[in-house]
Amino acid sequence: MTAADVTAADPGTTPEVASRKPPGVIRVAYRMWRTRVGTLIVALLAAIALFGHLIAPYGERDAVGLPFTPAGKTRKHTIFGSAKVGHDVWTRFLYGGKPILIAAVLATVLALVLGTLVGLVAAYNRGKLDDVLMRTMDVILALPQIISALIVISMFGATTILIILTVGISTVPRIARVTRGAAISVVERDFVAAAESLGESRFRILRSELLPNIAAPLLVEANLRLTFSIGLISGIAFLGFTPDPGAANWGLMINENRQGVLGQNPWGVILPVIAIAMLTIGTGLVGDGLSRAAAGIDRSKGGDL
């Protein structure tokens, strides 16, 4: 999704390099089983998260029996028994992925846009502007992301928009650093000087000359950040901070159903744990495939690793 955006962004203004590199990386990545398996897992989990509620047997807040009751002993028929407050585990599971996945993707896209912009401007201008921008990034990096998130939540509460903004903005410096690092060597190349002498606008140079040439490392980093954002946002929910405490959410589910594990019904914990684990491992596998392709490690082997 984000991958396609980046590569489709520019179909090649600088013929020999720009048009070949980004699709090359993706094509090489998909020769490896890890990228394919990862994509499959992510697609499955994303489908559950986005469309699962359509096949849910009950409503998100419907009670099916007493809390933490195993399947078969609930008042209404259930597959995995009941959760806290007597909710249906399976229904809550089908509803609970959406808030995490959507927030994580939006936060990553926000970070990708802002981070790329900051990194490119810093690399292209160097000097004072570069210094100011990157020192600002250092200051943001001085706080671990979860702490930034907790500060904001303690002030304004855990609204969806704020979580997306905080996770996104605290991710910006990480992407800006990678972008700047990759772009600095590109700035020195001849075709940038050529574009400058042709009088191309600064924005055009950043977008058409620099961006296509750093798409590969950017793609890898964006993927890594998506993985971390999923973990971070579900972790915040696990700590008990969600926009709506009554709504289903995989992270919150794990927390509120923990006592059910001591009792009789562990499924309220096991299902969301498997879901978050598979989702993050899936995006991790895709990221690993991309980074191997970008580094050219498996180019020779054709990818049967």
Binding site: F156, F238, I254, V269
Partner: protein, 323 residues
């Protein structure tokens, strides 16, 4: 001579940057009180409190002064070791926090003692055995583990080792507040393991990468050619040169723990500062939040600074080529 001056300039620059960073963090953290939607005095006393007691508390908290006065007053308190009282517990922050600091430090100590040698060994050994079965299995396992959020790792450990499969270890820690965290070593196992499993994949990958770079370098080739045994090449020649980045990794590791304890302590109900931060955010105990955030930020900035300096001191070519 000029070399020395370069080192001092470098250290001064980094120090200044670290202090500046902490200053900015303090401004942000302080802004938390100013931007709070509700009046802190009202928030402490509840909605039904009468106007007189609210006004009295406002005076006591210094809320009638200008923001600048409040900021300098707060900063002075932080620096002189008297950060004020907890809104919620109504006792000095330091007495509320001191036991918890010991508990968290003990957890960090155990986690570091296990994770640092472990990640060095895994990283160095899989670099040495590059592209063998061992390397492939470890790097794929590490990749999977690195992707997992730490609370997922912790919950899986709890499910396996204490609740569903085996009943070996306690799922929550119960520390006797008078005896210290070492009174419940059995309860330390799973929190420590969770932090270690979070950190090792991440660090060992960095170690592996820098070891591979070193192993392919000329002086290692030279050591091999002169007939040094493989073991000596690895530990005497290669490893010390891969150490520069390793110091940085140890700092990142500590920083990782500084954030990781929040979730891990909440998960195991461990009585440390991470759990305290979560609880304070829940009840909006602003002075405690401010204090804990400043402490964690300071730990992070100082460890990074130490790592930078250590890197410069162990890497000769950086000592001569400094900006």
């Amino acid at each position: 001579m000029s070399n020395n001056r370069g080192v001092i300039r470098f250290i001064a620059r980094r120090l200044a940057l670290g202090l500046f960073t902490l200053f900015v963090v303090s401004l942000v953290v302080f802004a938390a009180t100013q931007l709070l939607p509700s009046d802190p005095a009202q928030a402490i006393l509840g909605r039904d409190a009468n106007a007189v007691s609210v006004a009295a508390l406002r005076t006591k908290l210094g809320l009638n002064h200008t923001a600048f006065y409040q900021y300098t007053h707060w900063l002075k308190g932080m620096l002189s070791g008297n950060p004020g009282d907890s809104f919620n517990a109504q006792i000095p922050i330091l007495s509320y926090i001191s036991d918890r600091v010991v508990n968290s430090l003990f957890l960090l100590f155990l986690a570091s003692v296990v994770s640092i040698p472990m990640s060095l060994w895994f990283g160095a050994y899989s670099a040495r055995k590059r592209d063998t079965l061992f390397d492939n299995v470890t790097s794929n396992t590490m990749l999977a583990l690195a992707s997992l959020p730490e609370f997922v790792v912790g919950i899986i450990l709890v499910l396996v080792f204490s609740l569903r499969v085996w009943h070996l270890l306690p799922a929550v820690s119960t520390i006797d507040i008078h005896k210290g965290p070492w009174s419940d070593m059995k309860g330390m196992v799973l929190p420590t393991a969770t932090l270690v499993i979070g950190a090792v994949p991440y660090i060992s990958r960095v170690v592996r990468a820098s070891m591979i770079e070193v192993l392919e370098s000329d002086y290692v080739e030279m050591a091999r050619l002169k007939g040094a045994p493989e073991k000596v090449v690895l530990w005497r020649h290669a490893l010390p040169n891969a150490l520069g980045p390793v110091f940085q990794v140890i700092a990142l590791n500590i920083a990782y723990f500084a954030a990781g304890v929040i979730v891990v302590e909440a998960l195991f109900n461990y009585q440390g500062i991470g759990g305290a931060l979560r609880d304070s955010v829940r009840v909006r105990d602003i002075p405690v939040i401010q204090f804990l955030v400043m402490v964690l930020a300071a730990v992070y900035v100082v460890t990074n600074l130490a790592a930078d300096l250590a890197t410069v001191l162990v890497t000769p070519r950086l000592r001569t080529r400094m900006r």
